[in-house]
């Protein structure tokens, strides 16, 4: 399988952090004891799909999107039970419709399953690369042990056969119907069996089994690896597993447990990104997932790693954070407690033929660019909006989602209905031309200024609850650099 592996990576961690101390302060009366650190929590307008798009955007920045022949999405938290999320993500990322898409679901090891399947796919004729996105935002019941553990985030990997920065060298998979976590049709929260049972019968057995299996399969020893990473359900047990297997503490990748939390199907992908950001050419890196068994995957880092654009992206995402000081706000963001958002919170019936027809306009932020006068415009126009031009039907498609812009004007609307008032929005002038009104997100009114640079981020704009439709659209985020 030489020559197949990772050619690019991307990562996304939501901006908000909830300290485990804050959870304990709110829920300690019910379940005493706090874990150390904080967990990343999605903003109210984010879900696994939007975070996957953000990671995908990061991964594909500067890449030829036409060269991507598939998109696999791994998660346990899809916006829809039926309606493929991978297809929505592929549309948002402006991939060709002539690709393979699939959702890898239901297991925490879905991330590594998707990676291995993508590598298998690349072996097929005509498939150059597959983008794998892993993203999760699992919901734990307030006061449950899982509430302390789960964190939100996403990562993306481009698996292909050219410019490989880490080649796939081996794998070892196991599959068990282990009843650690479950959600049935009507469950809102993840149900878990007793913590100690999960730890002792599952976690502490499956990960060593997979790693030892891989070592045996390829006749390797623990000292052959520069780094090994596996998810963390429990800090003490995480360290104990590595020790039992004979790894030095310096070989074990810090599992991001105190900075992000356990990010479900995204977790192994995120750990892989963490290893890649520190890896040197020639390093063997060993990734292991956990969930209904485990999967150990071995990569060998190549010299291409040194050509990767910015290898501090995970570090930067970790630094780009804001503490969510109100536990109640977290509950409201996640829909755990209903809050009064006013009558404007009612949503008009979504018109699906329209959202289908305009899918590129809405999901990939496509406008048009006049071929006569060169004016980009959003939404796309038949007749050029430039008053000195007015050309009819001389437009070419023009993608705004990856363009940066500046704030032309802004407001903070206190009467708009929002779960996180005031609603911030403003006029954005795109670099290279084009202007439209967008909401801002992940930002505060007091800091908004005319002339600020912004970048675009796909967010959940509304939820049409009576019809069960998630409305996604792009918002602007002021760039902090």
């Amino acid at each position: 399988m030489a020559g197949i592996g990772i050619s690019a990576y991307g990562v996304y961690i939501p901006r908000y952090r909830l300290s485990r101390k804050a959870i304990s302060a709110a829920m300690g009366w019910l379940s005493p004891g706090a874990l150390p650190g904080e967990k990343a929590v999605a903003n109210y307008d984010e879900d696994s799909l939007t975070m996957a798009v953000a990671a995908g955007m990061d991964c594909l920045m500067g890449a030829d999107r036409a060269g991507v022949d598939g998109l696999y999405f791994a998660s346990t938290t899809f916006p829809y039970r039926e309606r493929e999320s991978a297809a929505i993500i592929a549309t948002a990322l402006d991939l060709s419709p002539n690709i393979r898409t699939a959702d890898f679901a239901d297991s925490l090891k879905a991330g590594t399953s998707a990676i291995l399947s993508a590598c298998d796919s690349v072996k097929a004729e005509g498939v150059r690369s597959i983008l794998v996105c892993g993203s999760d935002y699992r919901l734990a019941k307030p006061g449950s042990p899982q509430e302390m553990v789960f964190g939100d985030g996403a990562a993306a990997l481009l698996l292909g056969n050219s410019r490989v920065i880490a080649s796939l060298e081996g794998w070892y998979s196991t599959s068990y119907d282990f009843p650690d976590y479950r959600r049935s049709e009507d469950d809102k929260f993840v149900r878990a069996v007793e913590d100690r049972f999960v730890r002792e019968e599952g976690y502490a057995k499956f990960i060593p089994e997979a790693i030892l299996g891989l070592l045996r399969k390829y006749e390797l020893e623990t000292k052959d690896f520069a780094k090994v990473a596996y998810p963390c359900l429990n800090l003490r047990e995480h360290a104990a597993i590595g020790k039992r297997l004979g790894f030095q503490p310096s070989q074990i990748k810090e599992p991001l447990f105190t900075a992000i939390g356990e990010s479900g199907a995204a977790s192994p992908l995120m750990l892989l990104v963490a290893m890649l950001e520190e890896a040197k050419p020639g390093d063997n890196i060993l990734l292991t997932s956990y969930g209904n068994g485990a999967e150990a995957v071995l990569f060998k880092v190549t010299g291409e790693i040194e050509k990767v654009r910015d290898r501090e992206r995970l570090k930067k995402r970790l630094a780009f954070k804001k503490e969510l000081t109100s536990y109640e706000k977290y509950l409201a963001f996640r829909g755990i407690i209903p809050v009064e958002v006013g009558p404007g919170g009612e949503v008009a019936p979504t018109q699906l033929p329209l959202t289908w027809r305009e899918r590129r306009v809405i999901l990939a932020l496509y406008g048009s660019k006049c071929q006569r006068c060169g004016t980009p415009q959003y939404p796309p126009q038949r007749i050029c909006v430039n008053p000195d031009c007015g050309a009819v039907d001389e437009m070419e498609d023009y993608r705004f989602s990856d363009k940066r812009g500046v704030v032309f004007s802004y407001t903070a609307d206190h009467v708009a209905s929002s779960i996180d008032p005031p609603l911030l929005y403003g006029m954005i002038d795109f670099d290279g031309g084009g202007r439209f009104v967008f909401e801002f997100t992940d930002y505060e009114r007091d800091l908004l200024k005319v002339g600020m640079p912004v970048e675009m981020s796909l967010r959940r704009k509304y939820f049409d609850k009576p019809r069960g439709i998630h409305g996604y659209f792009w918002k602007a985020i002021p760039i902090r650099e």
Partner: protein, 403 residues
Amino acid sequence: MPEGIKDKVAIIGMGCTKFGELWDKSAEDLMVEAFQEALEDAGIEKKDIQAAWQGNQFTEVNIGHSALPLATTLKLPFIPVTRVENLCASGTEALRGACYAVASGACDIALALGVEKVKDLGFGGLPRANEDIVSLGTRGRVIFPNWVNPNPGMFAMMAIKYFERYGLSIEEGKTALAKVSVKSHHNGALNPKAHLRREITVEDVLNAPIIAWPLGLFDSCGVSDGAAAAILVRADMAKSFRPDPVYIKALQVATESGESLMYTGYDYTHVETTHRAAIKAYQEAGIKNAREEISMMEAHDCFSITELVTYEDLMISPRGKAKEDIDAGFFELDGEIPCQPDGGLKCFGHPIGASGLRMLYEMYKQLQGKAGPRQIKNPRLGLTHNLGGQPPLSICSVCIVGL
């Protein structure tokens, strides 16, 4: 430039209800009340009316679709009745339909009536849910921020740009805007038909809760129930009905082409449609210098910033100099060009489809010398400015009337 309708159409009767949160009144009550006042004022009978126009925006609240609500409420005798809608400029659109019909000779006597019954919603502000306030169709719901009611924010953004362009700190800018509202509250307190009748101070405005940054509660007009009506006749017939008919000198509408929203040429410190409509209206009316010739006006002060930029867009104040005129009391009731003598949208109230005709009602009464404690001395020309939409996506009508 076409010759226009100057002095071809006259107003012989007008009616206007009290505006407010009229919980005990239906749209029918409001239409009948405005219509009966206009009819009596004109001294004609219902059977004399040959065509009618109904202006209103929100069909989903109380009123319903089509012009049938007007025809069946007033029991109009099988004449042509048309409903028109151009957002907050709907009232002036009804007037325009009636004026053009009379001016063209299609009929001699026509009715324009604007009505809105929004307070049946059961919450403050404008209708939501199934209504598209943003005029970008159902796609607007998906792509526009706060599509249910982007008005406060979209006007607030104009204040940000205006302050920035003319080097005003937020406090300086907000203080100038506060004086606009204080003036309107003063006038509204003198008007028994006004929705809000309380004097306020600059401090009240500056200390009020924020609606959309940087605009606060007293920078924003409320929403009201109400109706207003006008009876229009051929100018050459007007004096046979009354000695003091009021003549239409100009009536112009400008509608945004899209460039203010989607093209980077727009500066967001003015409203282009107002400026364009004003140029044409002054041409039609034969006005060379608006600051010298206009006696008084009713501007569409949905927000204080709208009124401020309107002074400039109408070429009453030079660009960037509105603040100086405000500070000098130029637009106050005893100033050179009183603006909002009836209290404006800010205090008289804003039943969307009725507002354009309400503005005309005040100009009509002032010209006839019947404005009571608000009477302006010897006005010659009155101007109404009726704006629909938001600064980058608007429809503006400018009407000029005189004796």
